[in-house]
């Protein structure tokens, strides 16, 4: 009986060293001019249920769950950026699914990182998220590929460790979203794609050749 109680106590103590961070909060709808195009968005499974786990020596284990927050935000972001958005399967799309679409956007999370005051020596918690946004043309060819990093930091004083990391992560999503809303239309390849699709739309054109992306070399 005593041994059992000791094991329970030990597990409870070990459990106390794990910080589970569930990213919660809201990110507002961007106030930007809508791109007058219709796009499909494919959210990969990894993106929808993104999780990150890291063990830091002498500090403990950190578990982050940010897929749901990312998904909600990106749905909102895409709807604010384009005239019409539909969620689609993985590109290349079947002819029926691609009908009427000017392109398909695929967001991915490449990497997540965080710092605590104990690691950085600073007074705040910080988080970074590396995203890749890939744009495919109407015929399924890659048009552009953009990697960007969202940063966020939160003061540790007013929050607990988990709350501060959640806040920093939400700010990182918000930062990346701001950059996507403002800078995506001007990315190499995307700008020409928007121009060509608008011309094609105005002249009643249908299929066009994709614009080669500089990142494809």
């Amino acid at each position: 009986m005593k041994a059992k109680a000791l094991v329970i106590l030990l597990l409870a103590l070990l459990g106390g060293c794990t910080t589970t961070v569930i990213v919660e909060g809201t990110v507002p709808t961007p106030l930007v001019a809508k791109i007058p195009l219709e796009v499909g968005v494919h959210f990969p499974e990894d993106f929808k249920s993104f999780q990150h786990e890291e063990v830091i020596e002498h500090t403990g284990t950190f578990k982050f769950s940010l897929g749901e927050q990312n998904l909600t935000f990106f749905r909102n972001l895409m709807a604010a950026m384009f005239d019409r958005v539909v969620e689609v399967g993985e590109p290349p799309l079947a002819r029926a699914e691609a009908a009427g679409l000017d392109g398909v956007i695929v967001p991915e999370i490449l990497k997540y990182g965080f710092l605590t005051p104990g690691i950085s020596g600073l007074n705040f918690y910080s988080a970074s998220i590396h995203y890749r946004i890939t744009l495919y043309g109407a015929n399924g060819d890659k048009v552009a590929d953009w990697t960007l990093v969202g940063y966020g930091k939160a003061e540790g004083g007013a929050f607990g460790r988990g709350d501060a990391l959640s806040e920093a992560t939400l700010l990182a999503i918000r930062d990346a979203g701001a950059r996507i809303a403002i800078e995506f239309p001007n990315q190499p390849g995307v700008d020409v794609w928007i121009k060509r699709r608008n011309i094609a739309g105005n002249s009643g054109g249908d299929q066009i050749e994709p614009v080669p992306s500089p990142v494809e070399g």
Binding site: P30, L31, V32, A33, E155, G157, A158, A178
Partner: protein, 232 residues
């Protein structure tokens, strides 16, 4: 033992004499006439950057509270509410860095309408922080079966330095800058129990900056001569 207690009380006397000794300095530079009507609002935003320092949320909250209360309160729009309503244009990496960028920002669809809707007349960017510039002394605490206590003294000196840049969102210009610097030393004396004597230069800088900012906005004429400078 008696000698140590007397020594500690001696130090305490010195500390009490020095308590609340925070020196602060305010400087103001005006570039345009100002004035604010009761329906017009002010927004206080802290400059956030991705280096190792940033303006504390508690400081911008302190300024906003001080300006929004008192005998002549100014209508305040919370910074978070303002940033949310204009997302993504006031994020750390997208916010305008000078008043010259305001015209470009107002050309963005919906931005001018949102600002006019909320009747925000002025935006004050707060930049700066409070840092510990010096610390020293020593204090030890012991607990025995006969009791416990702390003896000794430690101190830390803090320097609070902040600047407010005021932008007129009606005329899309910079109205001026106000800077506040405060310096003070806090003590922790161990006389059986630890006795803190806190200087709080951050609080002093907040009060001084808020007071000057209110005077600045509530209506004065642009100075024809050199910048107004006042030391308190």
């Amino acid at each position: 033992m008696k000698r140590r207690v007397l020594f500690a009380f001696g130090w305490l006397g010195v500390i009490v004499l020095l308590s609340g000794c925070v020196s602060s300095r305010i400087e103001e530079s005006r570039t345009a006439n100002t004035g604010i009507q009761s329906h017009e609002a002010l927004v206080i935003l802290g400059r956030a950057s991705y280096n190792d320092r940033q303006t504390e949320v508690s400081f911008t909250d302190c300024i906003a509270n001080a300006l929004g209360s008192g005998s002549t309160p100014i209508r305040m729009i919370p910074g978070d509410e303002f940033k949310d309503s204009l997302y993504p244009w006031f994020e750390p990496r997208t916010a305008p860095t000078s008043a010259d960028d305001l015209a470009l920002l107002f050309a963005q669809p919906g931005v001018q309408e949102r600002i006019e809707e909320s009747q925000v007349r002025y935006l004050a960017w707060i930049e700066g922080d409070t840092v510990t510039v010096d610390q020293g002394g020593s204090m030890s605490c012991t607990i025995t079966s006969f009791g416990g206590g702390c003896f000794g003294m430690s101190y830390w000196e803090e320097d609070a330095s902040y600047e407010a840049s005021i932008w007129d969102l009606q005329n899309l210009t910079s109205a001026g800058e106000i800077s506040a610097d405060a310096n003070g030393t806090s003590y922790l004396a161990g006389v059986i129990v630890p006795i803190p004597v806190l200087a709080r230069p951050g609080n002093a800088a907040c009060k001084a900056l808020a007071s000057q900012l209110k005077d600045f906005l509530v209506g004065t004429q642009a100075s024809a001569g050199p910048d107004i400078e006042r030391a308190r």
